[in-house]
């Protein structure tokens, strides 16, 4: 970025007495933290309320008086009721299967393609790259209906495969990895070729390990997106045994007709926990990952 032209010197700030400066500083600190804490309460309120409600007995939930802490601990009942009423752990497992399955294929497909786009000369390379860029603008809701019809015709609805297939190709991963691979030094690739390494080995043993930050970032991004995706599973999955967390939560909420808030919040806690805990453990990785995938 070029430097900006600063405006000509304005009125010189009036000299401030030390006491005034301290008072001003204190005031601005209180103001800043006031805003930040108010915002933080807004952000955290649903989480706090979810946890508290999940350990409250119905009598306290339906009491008009709002209490922050339950008088009677009812967590065991709520959680065991939620777990017995719906296969919540199964939903979580489905989420893991879904995310891992999608991610593995995404990486296997996108990495060689990105390497070829970045480092090899072959006919149609530029045309393919244009298609990748156009693909970036097309959300999954657009090809959803033809894909649904095709999967229905093939008898593949209600399978893990049907849940994963629209996401096997991530044009975003190709785009991101291509940017990353382009800055990989050509000399190292030439040297590897002279050593008799095949292109296949160069991709997986030399270039891929160097792109670890981009791959980690993309993995976080992909897992968060597919763990939380509702639209596509809602279309292809009607069998509750295969439901990923959001769809499972929806089935559960429908079955409960939204009245048993203790069990509902217990279920919400169980299904939100895996990703939130992963985030709290690897929070730098998450934040860096989202930043990198967001900015590039």
């Amino acid at each position: 970025m070029a430097e900006i032209a600063l405006p000509a010197a304005g009125p010189v700030a009036a000299p401030i007495t030390p006491a005034g400066a301290i008072a001003r500083r204190l005031f601005s600190l209180v103001l800043i933290h006031g805003i930040l804490i108010a915002g933080a309460i807004f952000m955290l309120l649903p989480f706090v309320w979810m946890l508290i409600t999940s350990i409250k007995p119905p009598s306290e939930i339906f009491n008009a008086e709002i209490s922050l802490w339950p008088k009677q601990f009812y967590g065991v009942e709520n959680y065991s009721f939620a777990l017995s009423k719906a296969p919540l752990l199964r939903f979580a497992l489905n989420g893991v299967i879904l995310c891992v399955g999608i991610l593995v294929v995404q990486l296997l497909v996108a990495i060689p393609c990105a390497y070829a786009l970045a480092k090899l000369r072959f006919p149609g390379r530029d045309a393919l790259f244009v298609l990748v860029l156009l693909g970036l603008c097309i959300p999954v809701q657009v090809p959803a209906m033809p894909l649904y019809i095709a999967l229905a015709e093939l008898g593949l609805l209600n399978t893990y495969f049907s849940m994963m297939v629209p996401f096997f190709l991530s044009v975003f991963a190709i785009f991101l990895f291509r940017q990353f691979f382009r800055s990989f030094p050509d000399d190292i690739i030439h040297a590897a070729r002279l050593d008799g390494m095949s292109e296949f080995e160069i991709v997986w043993r030399i270039v891929t390990p160097s792109a670890w930050p981009a791959i980690a970032a993309f993995s976080v991004f992909s897992a968060v997106a597919h763990w939380n995706d509702l639209y596509w599973p809602l279309i292809v999955i009607s069998d509750a045994k295969l439901a990923p967390p959001p769809l499972g939560m929806m089935f559960f909420a429908d079955a409960e007709t939204g009245s048993n808030y203790g069990a509902l919040t217990a279920a919400a806690t169980i299904l939100t926990a895996p990703l939130v805990i992963a985030f709290l453990i690897a929070r730098r990785r998450f934040i860096d990952g989202i930043t990198m995938t967001g900015v590039k």
Binding site: M1, I4, L6, P7, A13, I32, I35, L36, G39, M43, L44, L45, P46, M50, I61, I66, A110, P112, A116, L120, R121, F122, R125, L131, V132, C137, I138, Q141, V142, A144, M145, L147, I149, A152, F168, L169, V171, I174, E199, F200, V224, W227, L230, P246, M249, M250, A253, G258, L264, T265, A267, T272, V276, F279, L280, R283, F286, I290, T291, G294
Partner: protein, 306 residues
């Protein structure tokens, strides 16, 4: 003779090398290309064909309609309302989600000890499962049982049925939308703020821009321009795709006040199986997304020439 053979030897090796490169290149992109064709290109063509017929999923035949589906969609009061609702939702989420995030990012950036704590708190909703949290929000906003109304009552306000009142339902969903993406935008702004050289602020101080607002207007805001543009466009696209909270919390109600475009496409395509009509609606949806993306490309171009 000999000389020619010698001279052609290196080019032959080079040509061989080029051939290898071509074939490996094509081989490496083949799986991606097949998937691209099967999951994006072909479906787009099929979608286009469906949109000019009256095909209904499960039916045996379909008649050619030309652009009647599109004409019908543009005249359909339900679809018009859905588009307006979606745009109203975007119009609330974008300023709230972008400028709220900018404010928080600027305040957080200067904290040394508490910065990472605030980052985690604000980012938490981004990783949480929105569907599960939507159920919690429903409870929070419950007219008689929820704490939000209890607080309102304590302050002497009347009870508000946020989600079952046509005048407040869409705005309530928008607030939840802001809650979900504020942390994401904050992280993007923090990255943008870190990229601004510190000495610019020092230079500005020498030039007499002492106050925080002065500094913001002369340095932060102009230099953050490209980031802001990017955040605005991604927020627009995300907001335009609103579906989850509608599907779980309001199902388009009350009285259609939260019917949004994607939810109507879902209903037409996968509940009523008006496949041809839903295909036309999908193209209308795509047209909006493409306009937003075009704005983004334009904005990123500007970033280069900044």
């Amino acid at each position: 003779m000999n000389a020619i053979a010698l001279a052609s030897a290196p080019p032959a090796a080079m040509r061989r090398r080029l051939w290898i490169e071509r074939f490996t290149g094509l081989g490496f992109v083949l799986p991606a290309f097949i998937l691209l064709a099967l999951t994006i290109l072909l479906p787009l063509v099929v979608l286009l064909l469906l949109s000019v017929t009256n095909y209904e999923f499960g039916g045996v035949s379909a008649d050619w309609l030309g652009f009647k589906n599109y004409a019908k969609a543009l005249a359909d009061p339900v679809i018009r309302r859905a588009v307006v609702n979606t745009l109203v939702y975007v119009a609330i989420v974008v300023p709230g989600g972008v400028f709220g995030a900018l404010l928080i990012a600027i305040l957080v950036q200067r904290r040394r000890k508490t910065r990472s704590l605030y980052e985690v708190i604000y980012f938490l909703p981004v990783t949480s499962t929105l569907i599960a949290m939507a159920t919690v929000w429903q409870f929070l906003l419950h007219p008689s049982l929820g704490p939000v109304n209890a607080v309102l009552k304590w302050f002497g306000f009347g009870q508000i049925a946020f989600l079952s009142e046509p005048s407040t339902a869409l705005a309530t969903l928008a607030v939840i939308g802001i809650w979900q993406l504020l942390g994401f935008n904050m992280i993007l702004f923090l990255a943008g703020l870190t990229a601004i050289p510190r000495d610019l602020y020092e230079a500005a101080e020498i030039d007499g821009c002492a106050g925080g607002i002065d500094r913001f207007l002369t340095i932060t805001w102009p230099l953050l321009g490209p980031t802001t543009m990017f955040v605005i466009v991604t927020t627009m696209i995300t907001a335009f795709k609103i579906f989850d909270t509608v599907a779980v919390m309001t199902r388009g109600g009350p009285i259609g006040s939260t019917e949004v475009l994607l939810y109507n496409i879902y209903l037409e395509g996968f509940q009523y199986f008006h496949t041809g009509y839903a295909a036309a609606l999908t193209f209308i949806f795509l047209a909006f997304i493409l306009v937003f993306s075009a704005v983004q490309t334009f904005a990123l171009d500007k970033k280069v020439h900044y």
